[in-house]
């Protein structure tokens, strides 16, 4: 009983109540030694659960249409605000921050009936790929404790895999949903930029950040997408288009012989582990066997993607994180409170950021400064447009692009933490989708010899999540014979 459909059946047959279900999940989550959660909102969750049970007693049936996530226990990455619940972004600097408002995406989850269990661990402000950069300790890999779960939404992916929530929300600035999803063997989706409101997502890099779901199945992720998507007047960058019908799309069979899948040569040229390459090739063969066409193509500007990404993201972050100055946000230590000099005050407060965050703030501050901004920030923005153009051209020839999410499976703790550059290069497959604003997802497609999950990376043209979901659902059911509709 691990998926939304199974839970709804059990609730209707009175095999379990929402309160019992919530308690089960909370209990196992609180017992976990892997550090998935930073904060639990037990009381709030149980109250929501009780209200759901009351409603169910009254209605006798799960109110599907109005509340597609009725009674479903969900975890939130700790950079999404929830009114009255501590929100830390994995940072010491927001240790005591209690937001007075709820993120639009979270509001949508709650009005769809979801029960919010708590706030999930993450790399500080989303900066990292291993969830080792959290002020609240690292997150352990759900099946291999010496490995990292990936990041920055490490808590979100590990908790789903370890059944500490049915689904979770993460955020993806340069791969932060897809990388941990691939390392933990769950489904993780980064929607089109503008598809889900960012209001209440504490910004890392505003032009790249996007909220997305992580779940055990494509269907469940699709249900979350339907609830999360749609225009929000509180976010000027949210697209004014109707919400998705991704769940419906997951129940329809793709027209395989009309579909073309692009294989960027740049994604398969060296550096890729053999097992991952093999897994992806198996996936390609299966797609071909369904009648789809495989089209080799080139994304020439993608070689600059990591450099461009780390400039733009750092520049935006240096500005976004400025409000953590100890005046209203940020912890004011005794030492800082005693200083009478404003500059010294800021120095003391802002020393509380972790190393990686400081590194990026300094990098971004430098790249935006007078005399350097043309060579770095502006140049990066120009190259970003070229990267987007590559994709525009590619999507004139193909319907999807496939490739790996990462060149390796989950690596050992501490392995890359000492070398930031190595860590940055690990983002080579994921950052292009953020730079171009495209929808992309990681989909389990096998395991390596050690049993570590491998993710298949699927990228689609802007606002084509439904088509992407339809293909992903079919792929995920490939072992179960032919896929049928309703």
């Amino acid at each position: 009983m691990r998926t939304i459909r199974q839970i709804h059946e059990a609730l209707e047959k009175k095999k379990i109540s929402v309160v019992e279900l919530t308690r089960d999940y909370l209990n196992s989550a609180q017992k976990s030694k892997n550090g998935e959660y930073i904060t639990f909102c037990e009381e709030r969750a149980l109250q929501q659960a009780q209200e759901a049970d009351d409603l169910l007693r009254l209605e006798k049936k799960v109110p599907w249409a109005q509340k597609p996530l009725f009674g479903i226990p969900i975890g939130l990455k700790d950079n999404l605000t929830l009114d009255g619940v501590r929100t830390t972004c994995g940072s010491k600097i927001l240790d005591h921050y209690i937001p007075p408002y709820t993120a639009s995406a979270v509001e949508r989850l709650e009005s769809a009936g979801a029960v919010i269990l708590g706030k999930l661990n993450m790399d500080e402000f989303g900066m990292g790929g291993s969830n080792e950069n959290s002020a609240f300790g690292p997150v352990g890999h759900p099946t291999h404790s010496d490995r990292v779960p990936g990041g920055s939404s490490g808590g979100s992916a590990a908790a789903v895999r370890a059944n500490l929530c049915v689904a979770s929300l993460g955020s993806d600035t340069g791969g932060s949903i897809r990388l941990p999803a691939s390392y933990c063997g769950v489904v993780g989706i980064k929607p089109t930029y503008g598809r889900i409101s960012r209001y209440g997502l504490i910004a890392f890099a505003s032009s790249l950040d996007q909220i997305g779901p992580l779940a055990r199945t494509v269907e469940d992720a699709a249900r979350l997408l339907d609830v999360l998507s749609g225009y929000d007047p509180l976010d000027s960058t949210s697209s004014n288009i109707p919400p998705l019908q991704a769940y419906l799309a997951s129940q329809s069979v793709p027209h395989w012989n009309r579909l073309r899948f692009g294989l960027p040569q740049e994604y398969f040229s060296g550096g890729l582990s053999l097992e991952i390459e093999k897994s992806i090739q198996n996936a390609m063969q299966w797609l071909e066997s369904q009648g789809a066409q495989l089209v080799p193509l080139s994304l020439p500007s993608s070689q600059y993607a990591v450099a461009v990404y780390y400039l733009i993201a750092a520049c935006e972050a240096s500005s976004n994180l400025a409000r953590m100055d100890g005046v209203r946000f940020g912890v004011r230590s005794q030492e800082a409170a005693e200083t009478t000099d404003l500059t010294e005050f800021y120095q003391k407060i802002r020393s509380d950021f972790g190393r990686e965050v400081k590194r990026r703030i300094i990098l971004g501050t430098f790249a935006l400064s007078l005399g350097y901004s043309d060579a770095y920030y502006k140049k990066a923005c120009q190259v970003r447009r070229k990267i987007k153009l590559d994709f525009d051209l590619a999507f004139q020839k193909v319907d999807f692009i496939i490739g790996p999410v990462s060149s390796t499976t989950a690596y050992r703790r501490g392995e890359k933490a000492i070398d930031p550059l190595k860590m940055y290069l690990n983002d080579i497959f994921t950052v292009p989708a953020n730079l171009a604003g495209l929808p992309a997802m990681s989909l389990p497609c096998g395991e390596d010899q050690e049993g570590l999950p491998i993710g298949l990376h699927l990228l689609a043209p802007p606002f084509c999540e439904e088509q992407m979901i339809s293909v992903a659902q079919a792929f995920s059911k490939r072992g179960e014979g032919s896929v049928r509709g309703f």
Binding site: N79, T81, T87, I202, S319, R323, L368, L370, Y377
Partner: protein, 490 residues
């Protein structure tokens, strides 16, 4: 000012816009004519967005753009159809996000001009740019600590930057007054300088007369009264001249103005200048302004001071000084316009009527305003009072002195002119049967003067008129009396 040197002055004006809500959230930007958001309970006019809570996002108030376009059109600017909001990054406790959202390389308006009348000289001052931005909060410094009030954080501002086209403090003052009256006429700002609705930074440099090489400039910050602005610039010019004379040279720096000492003092030098690290705000998309919108705004513009002055002089026949006096207050000139409008309904000779009405308003009404120390709009006087009054005087049914009495009562009570006239028995005595006996009495009482008049001392006619007037308590019509007396004394 020294004749050896000439000054070059440019001004940056910050003007708070009187929109209903703030620029990026739905908190109030303006409460009423009497109360500003700065004066209500500290930090009560805030929300997660203007308080800069992590995770919040700005959404642009379109009204702010419209107000900006109004100023742009009124100052003959080009309107940028796709202006971009940028972040200006700096740390200060009253700046909640650690950056101010403003416009940088793609402002709303560029390349305009404003005609400035300074005494007999009129000069075109070029407007370099007008851009939109959010106001910061307010810091209150106490001994040992400072407090921050965010009530005005996010109130919309426009910054109007002139080219360095002014040469004297008086010219700078005239430019500011012109701009101030413009924003008030456009109804985009309350323009209250005490409240900081309208404040100004002045860029000042001096150079040797006839030189083409601009001197090193200083910037004087946060001047908020016309008088201080002129005085601060005046001081700064003489300071710079002195510094140059002494051979030290001017340092490029930002200076403050101390009004109690009437001097400027250094705040920070060029080396200490901030690097604001401007970049386009990724939370806001470029604004799309189509020509239809611009044209709609253009057609909705009210009559501006220049146009008003021209109409008052050319159509209504007023003198330049009367026109200027009326225009100096938006309420006064609108009241006057209403008087003229209403007079058209009752059929009068337009120019003759307008001049008389202007006279009454600029003399008697202004006197009452001063006497009672209240504004015209706080009195009971209405446009129809002036219309009725001027007509009665022109028909000679009311004397000048009587009319003054009527205005005074209307100012206080708001009663109709006709009922005041009835109530006070103020009908002008044009009735011969009433005047005849009085004139005869005067002729009888002053035989010596009569003899002198008859002997050719014409000036004495005034004496007789005055005597009769006295007997009527000023209720007769002097020209009529003069005519009658002249006949009688022949």
């Amino acid at each position: 000012m020294d004749f050896e040197f000439e000054a070059v002055i440019g001004l940056e004006v910050h003007c708070q816009l009187a929109t209903h809500t703030k620029i990026f959230c739905s908190c109030r930007a303006r409460l009423s004519d009497e109360t500003t958001v700065a004066n209500i309970q500290v930090n009560s006019n805030t929300c997660p967005i203007c308080a800069g809570h992590p995770g919040t996002l700005p959404v642009l108030n379109r009204k702010v753009v419209e107000y900006g376009i109004r100023v742009g059109l009124a100052t003959h600017c080009q309107i940028n159809q796709s202006p971009v909001f940028a972040r200006k990054n700096y740390f200060y406790p009253d700046l909640p996000k650690g950056y101010q959202i403003t416009q940088f390389d793609q402002p709303l308006c560029e390349n305009g001009w404003l005609l400035v009348e300074n005494g007999d000289v009129s000069r075109t001052v070029r407007i370099q740019r007008i851009h939109l931005e959010e106001d910061a909060g307010k810091s209150v410094h106490r001994t040992g600590f400072s407090l921050v009030n965010l009530n005005r954080a996010g109130v919309p501002l426009i910054e109007i930057v002139s080219e360095p086209d002014m040469e004297t403090p008086q010219e700078a003052g005239a430019y500011l007054r012109t701009l101030h009256s413009l924003v008030v006429y456009l109804e985009i700002s309350d323009g209250n300088m005490q409240e900081g609705n309208f404040r100004c930074d002045a860029n000042v440099s001096v150079m040797r007369h006839g030189s083409s090489q601009l001197g090193i400039r200083t910037e004087i910050k946060n001047l908020n009264s016309f008088r201080f602005i002129e005085k601060a610039i005046e001081y700064e010019i003489s300071r710079q001249v002195e510094v140059i004379r002494s051979g030290v040279g001017v340092i490029q720096e930002t200076r403050g103005y101390d009004s109690s000492k009437n001097s400027t003092f250094p705040m920070r030098s060029k080396e200490q200048a901030h690097d604001y690290r401007y970049f386009p705000d990724p939370d806001l998309l470029p604004v799309k302004i189509d020509s239809d919108w611009i044209e709609k705004i253009r057609h909705s513009l009210p009559e501006l001071p220049d146009q008003k002055r021209a109409r008052l002089m050319n159509v209504l026949g007023l003198s330049l000084s009367d026109a200027e006096l009326l225009i100096s207050s938006k309420f006064l000139v609108e009241f006057f316009d209403e008087v003229v409008q209403k007079s058209l309904l009752v059929g009068v000779e337009l120019q003759c009527f307008s001049k008389a009405a202007a006279n009454w308003m600029l003399s008697e009404v202004m006197r009452l305003r001063k006497e009672d120390n209240i504004e015209l709009w706080q009195s009971q006087l209405r446009a129809f009072h002036i219309v009725d009054l001027v007509r009665l005087v022109q028909k000679q049914s009311l004397s000048h002195i009587q009319a003054k009495q009527v205005i005074c009562i209307a100012w206080k009570t708001g009663q109709d002119v006709s009922s005041i006239v009835d109530q006070e028995g103020l009908k002008q005595w044009n009735d011969l049967s009433l005047l005849e006996p009085l004139m005869d009495e005067v002729i009888r009482d002053f035989p010596r003067q009569v003899a002198e008049y008859r002997a050719g001392k014409d000036k004495l006619l005034g004496f007789f008129i005055g005597r009769v007037m006295k007997k009527t308590n000023g209720m007769a019509n002097p020209p009529l009396l003069g005519e009658l007396l002249r006949k009688k004394l022949m």
